[in-house]
Structures are given as structure tokens and as C-alpha cells.
């Protein structure tokens, strides 16, 4: 998986948790939960789905810092070594 594919996988996972969102309109550097209006249960469902899909288990302490799509992609890329 390269970085683009990883980003694609993250965005597609997000679309399963929030089917109403327009994934093409996501701003990668803007706060994700504000853009998509994710509540805490959506956010946790997203992290669980991401774990299932790409195998990255994000610890609680790290999850709070991953506020944008860019930060999420960077973090997962580091964990996966891509």
C-alpha cells in the first residue's frame, strides 16, 4: 500500500461511518471532526473500522492528537512503514 492508497482507505472508512459526507470536499489540513460532524461514538466507530481495515490500532493517547486527515495519514503511514 502506498501513501495515496492509504489515504484512500482512510477516507473510504470514514465514508462507511458517516455515509452522508461528501468525501471529495474534505479539506486534508482542517479539523476532521468539525468538518464531518463526528460525535465521540462516530469517532470511536471510525477508529475501530480503521483498525479492521488497515490493521493500525491507534492508542487512546494518540487518537486525540490526530485531528486532521493529513495527521491521520502521516501517523498510519509511519505505523505501516509506507
Amino acid at each position: 500500500m502506498n501513501r495515496d492508497e492509504l489515504k484512500q482507505a482512510i477516507v473510504q472508512t470514514l465514508a462507511t461511518i458517516a455515509p452522508e459526507i461528501d468525501v471529495d470536499a474534505l479539506k486534508p489540513a482542517a479539523p476532521l471532526r468539525d468538518q464531518v460532524d463526528l460525535d465521540s461514538a462516530d469517532w470511536l466507530n471510525f477508529l475501530v473500522a480503521l483498525h479492521e481495515r488497515i490493521g493500525v490500532d491507534i492508542p487512546d493517547a494518540d487518537a486525540a492528537r490526530l485531528t486532521t486527515l493529513d495527521k491521520l495519514v502521516d501517523y498510519c503511514a509511519r505505523k505501516l512503514g509506507v
Partner: protein, 404 residues
């Protein structure tokens, strides 16, 4: 003979549109099985049957809008013969001609043996399955789901819907817009009725959460994301536990009297991105430990988003809890969802100055509020309920394990 009627759809919803049958004549049905999907102003809902039996005849065609209480299907009780049900059905049609005569005449089911009758039961040629996610997507895209061709396996999937949407460009977002309008009307009607009929009183308490948040952080640090707990789950557990002690806040005001709830079924307010909200019930919250509550909350949230809630979940909550969450504001004063008699609200957790043992410290604090029906309870008891919620949140480990 078992009569399967369109159940109540909740406050101020008196009709629904049958989208799809999930059973056919001759099928065995178990108590609690989902037998059809009904579209309401709020969502497409899976409707369960509450009896064991064998489907004898389906009396309503998909696509038909019917009032609550309409006879939709009849089932044979275990051991009952098809001929006996036919006879009862005919008698019902004579006694109450309108509702049954309006429906298509049931196809006669062949005589026993039942296994053969089941095999010979007519299956409509256009019969197909539609996944809830596909229905949801079709509504968003303004596509008529009935016109989407299913895939090779006979199931209409999201891909089929999106293919149809591309083919049908330009897309008119009518279905989603129509749903939003309908939901607004239902909320308007229920909330206006609440404020017209229910004499609300309001109480609030600031609750320090140092113990609760420390307990959660410690638990979650050791856990995989799949077992991580939400603060919302602990708050729901505290409400459920306190309600056991103060049951007059759990139930309904009906016909001039309080009717206690059959269990502690907490309606969890979930705001929908397309507008409006749903409050599906988290059943028997007092008898679930914290992990079970957490799983149920995540599941309800996911299904509310996907449009696959069950009808019972939207109609049998005995109280509502609304949490503004970590992106909300400090406090909320809820409007009671009739015929319930109370709504508990939680604001955002904020660090505030708090006096502890004569010293001012910065602590995480949440404001809990109670809006309650003064016909069913008084402020003194309401205060005790909020105090019980506060006290339980000071001993999170004990609270999390509580199931009895």
C-alpha cells in the same frame, strides 16, 4: 391465527410505507425476527414480529402507505391448519370489511403437509432484497430504490444504487430533501405537544469527573481500540443506576396517570447530519455492565447513521438522555419526548475551578440537567435523582460492574 399489524411508530407518526417484506407465505417466523421494512418520516425501520408462527398470507403490497394498526399479514400458530386460518380470515373480512377488503385477497395456501405448502408458496417474481445501506444511499442520491436493478444475487447493493444514480444524471435530491421536511414536521409536532401539555420543571447539578475520567483513561490506555470505553457510556450507566432508585422518572404519562416503564430503556439522542435527530432505545441499561452499554451505544450510533434501526428501538424508550459531547457547550435544557416524563442532559466536560478540602483546584466538571414532568414527579425527588447520578460517577469502578 396471529394478526400482524403495523405497530405504533412513536409520537406523532400515524402511518408508514411498507418498503419490503423479508418473509413469504410458508416461512417459519421466530419471535423477535425482522419481517419487513417500513419507511417512516424519521427513517426506514426494520419491523419485528413478536410471535412464533408460520406466515400464512401477506395482505399489504410493498409501496403501500398504511395507518398504524393496519392488518399487514396473518400467521398460523404452531399446530394450526391453513384451512382454519382461511376460515378465520374470511370471518374477519365479514366482520370488519374495510381494512381487510382493501388489501389484496390472500393467495390460498395448499393443504398439509406443511413442508410442501411452504415449498409451493408463491414467490413474487420481482422479489428482491435491498440492503439498508443501499436504501440509505438511494435516499441521499434522490434515486427511487424500486427502480434500481439488483445485482446477480438478487440483492440491491450500494454499488447498484450508485450505478443507477450515474445513469440517471442530473440527480434531483428529492428523496433526501423530502425526508428532512418530514422529520422536521414530526419533531415540530412532538415538541410542540410536549411544551403545550407537559409542565416541565428544570434542575441542574455540576458534577466533578476527576475520578471518572481518570478511571476511563487508565482503562483505555490498556485496551485495544476495539474495547475502548466512551465517557458517554459511563454517564448512561450512572443514569440507569440512579433510575432504579427513583423509578418515577422512568416511564410514561398516559391518560392522566404515571405508567412505570417495563425496563430501563434509555433513548439516546443522536443528531443526524442531514438534519433532525433520532432517539433509539438502549435497552435494559441498568442490567448491562459498562462494556455491554458501550457496545450497544456504538451499535446504535452506527445503525442510526446507516438507516437500519429497528422499529421497537424508536418507540419503547422510557426516558431520554441527551449528551452534547466534547464539541458541544456547557449545558442543555431538554424538552421531554412525550409520553416520557423526563430527559437528562449532559453538557461538555470542561476544566473548572473546584473547591476540594478547602483548596481550589482545576477539575474536569460536567453539568447534568433534568427536565421532568411536574405531573409525574416533584423537584425534591428530581434533585435526589441528579444527586444519585453525581454520587455514582464518583465511584466509577463499582458503577461499571453493576448489573443487579
Amino acid at each position: 391465527m396471529i394478526e400482524f399489524r403495523l405497530p405504533s411508530l412513536g409520537a406523532d407518526m400515524d402511518e408508514g410505507k411498507l418498503l419490503q417484506w423479508l418473509v413469504k407465505p410458508g416461512d417459519e417466523v421466530k419471535k423477535g425476527q425482522i419481517v419487513c421494512v417500513v419507511d417512516t418520516a424519521k427513517a426506514a425501520l426494520d419491523v419485528e414480529c413478536w410471535h412464533d408462527g408460520t406466515v400464512h398470507a401477506l395482505l399489504v403490497e410493498p409501496g403501500t402507505t398504511i395507518p398504524v394498526g393496519t392488518l399487514m399479514a396473518v400467521l398460523r400458530e404452531p399446530g394450526e391448519s391453513p384451512a382454519a386460518v382461511d376460515e378465520k380470515l374470511a370471518r374477519l373480512a365479514r366482520e370488519r370489511p374495510a381494512p381487510v377488503a382493501a388489501a389484496p385477497v390472500p393467495a390460498p395456501v395448499a393443504a398439509p403437509p406443511p413442508a410442501r405448502a411452504s415449498a409451493a408458496a408463491p414467490v413474487p417474481s420481482e422479489r428482491r432484497r435491498v440492503s439498508p445501506a443501499a436504501r440509505k444511499r438511494a435516499a441521499e442520491l434522490g434515486i427511487d430504490i424500486d427502480r434500481v436493478a439488483p445485482g446477480a444475487d438478487g440483492t440491491v447493493s450500494i454499488e447498484d444504487v450508485e450505478r443507477a444514480a450515474r445513469a440517471a444524471a442530473p440527480v434531483a435530491p428529492t428523496a433526501a430533501a423530502e425526508r428532512a421536511v418530514q422529520m422536521r414536521k414530526v419533531i415540530a409536532s412532538a415538541m410542540a405537544r410536549s411544551k403545550r401539555e407537559i409542565p416541565h420543571y428544570y434542575l441542574a447539578e455540576d458534577i466533578p469527573l476527576a475520578a471518572a475520567t481518570a478511571w476511563l483513561a487508565e482503562r483505555n490506555a490498556q485496551r485495544s481500540v476495539t474495547d475502548r470505553l466512551l465517557l458517554a457510556s459511563l454517564l448512561l450507566k450512572a443514569v440507569a443506576s440512579a433510575l432504579r432508585r427513583y423509578p418515577e422518572f422512568n416511564g410514561y404519562w398516559r391518560d392522566g396517570a404515571f405508567e412505570p416503564g417495563a425496563g430501563i430503556h434509555i433513548g439516546v439522542a443522536i443528531s443526524l447530519r442531514a438534519g433532525g435527530l433520532v432517539t433509539p432505545a438502549l435497552h435494559d441499561a441498568d442490567r448491562k455492565d459498562i462494556d455491554a452499554i458501550n457496545r450497544a451505544l456504538l451499535d446504535l450510533t452506527q445503525r442510526a447513521r446507516a438507516g437500519s434501526l429497528k422499529l421497537a428501538e424508536l418507540t419503547d424508550a422510557t426516558i431520554t438522555v441527551t449528551s452534547l459531547g466534547d464539541r458541544g457547550v456547557a449545558s442543555v435544557w431538554g424538552v421531554i419526548f412525550p409520553p416520557q416524563v423526563a430527559i437528562v442532559g449532559f453538557g461538555r466536560v470542561t476544566e473548572r475551578p473546584w473547591v476540594l478540602d478547602g483548596e481550589v483546584r482545576a477539575l474536569p466538571v460536567i453539568t447534568a440537567s433534568l427536565s421532568a414532568d411536574h405531573r409525574a414527579s416533584d423537584g425534591h425527588r428530581g434533585g435526589l435523582l441528579l444527586a444519585a447520578i453525581r454520587d455514582r460517577l464518583q465511584a466509577p469502578d463499582e458503577l461499571a460492574k453493576e448489573t443487579e
